[in-house]
């Protein structure tokens, strides 16, 4: 077990309200090795962020609840850790970059102070030393040190995200979870930030879970990809396999529905219909109502994850020969 940095096994997360149960993450499993990057790809409501929050044990409870499963980090189940132990891990061994840099920084604390805070929480060093470290971090992410005493509102979106990244890597985490880190940014700034993440990741040799809906970003950043739909991974494999040998009708549909800079299409190949309501999921395969290759068993039984090639798995009856 210790060969994997992170192993998620049959994770189920639900949000329960008085009237309904939102099935956000359904029987999700994947593994991540040291210094590897996995992309979690899917549309709104696919359960990407809930998975990330689950790993950090940050699911708001109530209404959220981790029903079952295990999250093994360096062989230890995070679900069995006490809140005090979790606080040590968060920001230390596992850290997170959130989507919206406008809301993830504290507006009334100077940015330098926010970096010092995380350093001092996780290691016993003097204020002077931690200030030095914080200034180094700022410069590392490309912010001149004379902005150390400024407040978040004095920074642009891209600069704020750089500060968030500086905070995230302050304690040399073993795992970085980046939840749509560049979605709120312009393309030229997005490019700068992605390059920065790539550079830093190599320097501190950290593994990463990159949550995104943009397959272009995945192509640039990831080693492995998990395609998510309604809280499940429907296809999982090394990036080459997913990009050149996609099998699941949803993965194929997702690639085909993208307008492309390199080819001319008269009309896009849309996936008809919409994602099902997570409080009222269809029977059988969750993608079946929108699937063009639906078979008779699809709305009766839930397909199993089938390994069609080493490390390439797909959850679809088209490939279930048993």
């Amino acid at each position: 077990m210790s060969e994997h940095l992170l192993e998620i096994k049959n994770l189920i997360i639900q949000y329960r309200t008085e009237y309904e149960v939102v099935k956000a993450v359904n029987d999700l499993s994947f593994t991540l090795n040291r210094s590897e990057t996995i992309g979690l790809v899917g549309e709104t409501g696919a359960g990407k962020t809930t998975t990330a929050l689950g790993i950090m044990r940050l699911i708001p409870d109530p209404p959220g609840e981790i029903i079952s499963g295990g999250i093994f980090f360096e062989g230890e189940n995070l679900l069995l850790k006490s809140e005090r132990e979790m606080r040590k891990i968060r920001g230390g061994k596992i850290s997170m970059v959130f989507q919206d840099p406008m809301t993830s920084l504290n507006p009334v604390l100077r940015v330098g102070e926010q970096i010092i805070e995380v350093i001092r929480l996780h290691s016993k060093i003097s204020r002077v030393k931690s200030t030095e470290a914080a200034i180094k971090l700022l410069e590392l992410v490309g912010i001149p040190s004379d902005r150390f005493n400024e407040y978040p509102h004095q920074f642009s979106g891209g600069m704020k995200q750089r500060v968030v990244i500086a905070i995230a890597i302050a304690c040399n985490p073993m795992l970085l979870i980046a939840d749509e880190p560049t979605t709120a940014l312009d393309v030229t700034i997005q490019f700068q930030v992605l390059e920065l993440i790539n550079k830093l990741r190599k320097e501190i040799n950290t593994a990463m879970i990159l949550i995104t809906h943009d397959l272009g970003i995945v192509a640039e950043m990831c080693d492995k990809v998990a395609i998510m739909y309604t809280g499940e991974i429907v296809e999982y494999g090394p990036i080459r396999e997913i990009f050149h040998n996609a099998k699941h009708p949803y993965t194929i549909g997702l690639f085909n529905s993208l307008p492309d800079l390199d080819t001319d299409l008269e009309r896009l190949n849309e996936i008809s219909g919409t994602m099902p309501d997570p409080t009222n999921l269809p029977l059988g395969c969750k993608f079946q109502p929108r699937c063009l290759q639906r078979k008779s068993e699809c709305n009766v039984m839930i397909p199993k994850m089938i390994e069609i090639l080493p490390e390439h798995s797909v959850k679809c009856f088209l490939y279930d020969n048993a």
Binding site: E43, T44, S156, G158, M159, D186, V187, T188, I189, Q190, F191, Q192, L194, E195, H213, D214, L215, G216, I217, V218, A219, E220, I239, R240, F243, H244, G253, L254, F255, S257, L258, P259, D260, L261, D262, L265, R267, L268, N269, E270, I271, S272, T274, M275
Partner: protein
């Protein structure tokens, strides 16, 4: 050529406490009937302001615009009402652009009522039904409120409302940016179908280059209030004569593994649009910057046939 809309030297300045903000500065273009003009640029480049000025939602500071050959730069209320019937807008955010206290049929029916385009209740109902059918909304959701619908359906309601008065011209301001990819494809297909069926003319404002390439006939690239490059879509995506367009295109992450390409990382960010200096607006971030770029603003000039670029050194990129 059947020109529907012509814009000449359009300017929109805002006075701010720290100086003059030139949000739209000296922009000219023409749009032919039934075509789509894509306006692409990053946040703060003035593309949304431009869209609003076109629809008289904001008053222009200077410049002229003509709709079907008529000068509509200054209009009185009555003329404006006529114009609004012919020029509509689809907004970016389907969550905030619909009144949360109105049902779907009220939202779509409101323009019909304001302009009294029906004779009796029967006719109103038929028209409403036709409209909802044309954008793929089922009758079942007629009495639903916006919060009961998902993002895709909500944007369909927004599109349906824009179509209600059979306009000739629609400004689409980032209509698919808030939507998921599979829904985005549905929406782009719908907009194209509607364009073909009703001979609509679009101005399509977006930051997404793949989307603009897919949907537009012609493209203008904006940077800090000015057009830095414009041409027809095929030509522009094939060859770029402005360093900003080159960098923008190279920054787009592509969902392909094979393409290894030279990429240009732009330094810095968009400079403040307030109190701009005399030189080229892109000069502070440009990798080819020379002395002249800091002194003189390059005019938008034709580099090759129907391909315009505002760079002193456009010819070097031919």
């Amino acid at each position: 050529m059947d020109i529907l809309l012509e814009i000449k030297n359009l300017k929109k300045y805002f006075k701010t406490s720290s100086g003059l903000l030139r949000a739209v500065d000296n922009i000219s273009f023409i749009v032919e009937r039934g075509e789509t003009l894509g306006i692409v640029g990053e946040s703060g480049c003035g593309k949304s302001t431009l869209g609003r000025v076109l629809l008289h939602l904001l008053e222009s500071t200077d410049g002229k615009f003509y709709f079907e050959g008529k000068d509509i730069t200054v209009v009185n209320n009555e003329e404006l009402k006529y114009l609004r019937k012919n020029m509509q807008m689809i907004f970016q955010d389907p969550y905030s652009s619909l009144d949360p206290r109105m049902t779907v049929d009220e939202i779509i029916g409101e323009p019909l009522k304001i302009h009294k385009v029906y004779k009796n209740k029967e006719e109103y109902k038929t028209r409403l039904q036709q409209l909802m059918d044309s954008v793929g909304l089922t009758k079942r959701i007629e009495r639903s409120y916006p919060h009961e619908l998902d993002g895709g359906r909500r944007q369909r309601v927004g599109i349906c409302r824009a179509l209600a008065l059979q306009p000739k011209f629609i400004v689409c301001d980032e209509p698919v940016s808030a939507l998921d990819v599979s829904i985005q494809a549905q929406m782009l297909n719908l907009l194209q179908d509607l364009q073909r069926d009703f001979r609509l003319t679009y101005i399509f404002i977006t930051h997404n280059l793949s989307v603009v390439k897919h949907i537009s006939n012609n493209v203008c690239v904006m940077y800090l209030g000015i057009i830095v490059e414009k041409s027809n879509t095929k030509e522009l995506f094939n060859k770029q004569y402005h360093p900003y367009t080159q960098a923008l295109l190279s920054a787009v992450p592509r969902p392909k593994l094979i393409i290894k390409r030279e990429r240009i990382i732009l330094k810095g960010e968009l400079s403040s649009p307030i109190n701009l200096g005399p030189g080229c607006r892109f000069a502070p971030r440009c990798i080819y910057v020379k002395d002249i770029c800091l002194k003189e603003q390059p005019p938008l000039k034709e580099v090759t046939i129907n391909h315009y670029s505002a760079c002193h050194f456009s010819n070097d990129f031919i």
